[in-house]
Symmetry: C2
Subunit: 302 residues, 2 copies
Amino acid sequence: MSLLVVGSVAFDALQTPFGSTDRTLGGAATYFSLAASLMAPVRLVGVVGDDFSAADEATFRGRKIDLDGLERAPGKSFFWSGRYSDDLRTRQTLTTELNVFATFEPKLPAAYQDSQYVFLGNIDPVLQRHVLAQMRRRPKLVALDTMNYWISGSSEELAKTLRMIDALLINDEEASQLGGEHNILRAVKRIMSMGPSAVIIKRGEYGAMLFQGDTIAAVPAYPLEKVYDPTGAGDSFAGGFMGYLASQRKSSHEFMRKAMVYGSVLGSFAVEKLGVERLRTLKRRDVERRARDLVKMTHIRL
Amino acid sequence: MSLLVVGSVAFDALQTPFGSTDRTLGGAATYFSLAASLMAPVRLVGVVGDDFSAADEATFRGRKIDLDGLERAPGKSFFWSGRYSDDLRTRQTLTTELNVFATFEPKLPAAYQDSQYVFLGNIDPVLQRHVLAQMRRRPKLVALDTMNYWISGSSEELAKTLRMIDALLINDEEASQLGGEHNILRAVKRIMSMGPSAVIIKRGEYGAMLFQGDTIAAVPAYPLEKVYDPTGAGDSFAGGFMGYLASQRKSSHEFMRKAMVYGSVLGSFAVEKLGVERLRTLKRRDVERRARDLVKMTHIRL
């Protein structure tokens, strides 16, 4: 049930229609591990600067999150700031300061090198491969996230990485760009021919779809009366998805379908408050309750 | 199982990335009845001009569609033309010529006045009420479509009409506008307080949701490798939804859930070819096969 995540630990400045903050703990690996650790112990590989305080560390320490792989480098941590539109459907990046992340080279502690479930967060595809090269044996499941920056700017490196993974988790737009097709189904087929045997398309408030072989599964988003801050929803989805699979020690299609529900549920909790606030207090039983509610919404017999 | 539809029968000029036509049979009531008539006999109330030919009529006559309520008026039929973007996600209206539709006043033949399932297509809410006033008894289920034009321009008349119906079928944007909320769940709650006990939100490629009392059901769109022309997808959804309910003589929540699948399936067929072309040749067994496939995609047990 060993689950490894590699990705950004950052500080975010966020502006949403409902509130804002100048500085809060964020980053893909942060959301991922807070979400996943509700279900399985997480090993985190990333880098932070000397502005990462004991209080920041405590956010992780309260959970089953191993920080031996979290490197401390001189300088500032990755910083991102963004502003959401009134309907929360679009966001504008105001600042991206890579800081210590600019020279990040993921190094896996020896104890991490046998991890069976691996999530390669959205970083340079060369570094994503560099992580896999450090594994002592082929993990049971390698999942990967990426973004338009790498799809357009490092397509050859990304192609090499895609051949080495099992599951790709991306959004609609990224899938269209990577597959070179507006049509999602055709884009997904193209992507599958590049390597991943499973493609998970995250569609925000519209839910998510799992494509695996000839089989398709669709899971709705959990409808919320109040979405406060969409930041980290996709990373929390990935955390719920991978955390569930790791907790069950499974990677079959049947369990991937179930994992989609946990992904959707964790994504829905993440957006209920600003930053990682909601994930901090979230309990496993809240997750289970919402997972059951979500499944009820999908239940139809002809 | 008597199903009545009131709405537009029109000619459309369509431009999609894959093909175009200067003039093809269209209109909400056309798509609705072609879709619904695969499952239940349909009674159509609408108006056409003297450009509506025997060949146009034959499109309906080949199905169980009663045209006694289709008025012939001197002049031209309703004409609409539109162009779709390359990704088919947006469309631009180029022309709307109401023609004979401008003075349309729906008149129900005596034989229609006992219809148990009624679909009030997107027309003036005053006329929608005028239809209900002609019913000899309260139908089992009255469903309604509307659009931004009436929501913003005739809100009081629409409010009166909403108090008299059971189910509202609209898209995300219309729901947000009508409910005065970006958030769909809050918008739907506001809409339910205006009258309808069921609200069905059509989300195109993202599927559809049914809200009824405290219960929510989500149905995905059937993923297609080729979407040719999105025109009429929502009307075909409504046709599949109402046609199924009429065929089963049911209106309970359980059957509304099933009906969502048939709505989604008919919507998916409608977009496979230009105009109503695909619906012309569609068979009930094609519908049933796709309905079963769609349900499989939703099947998850924790």
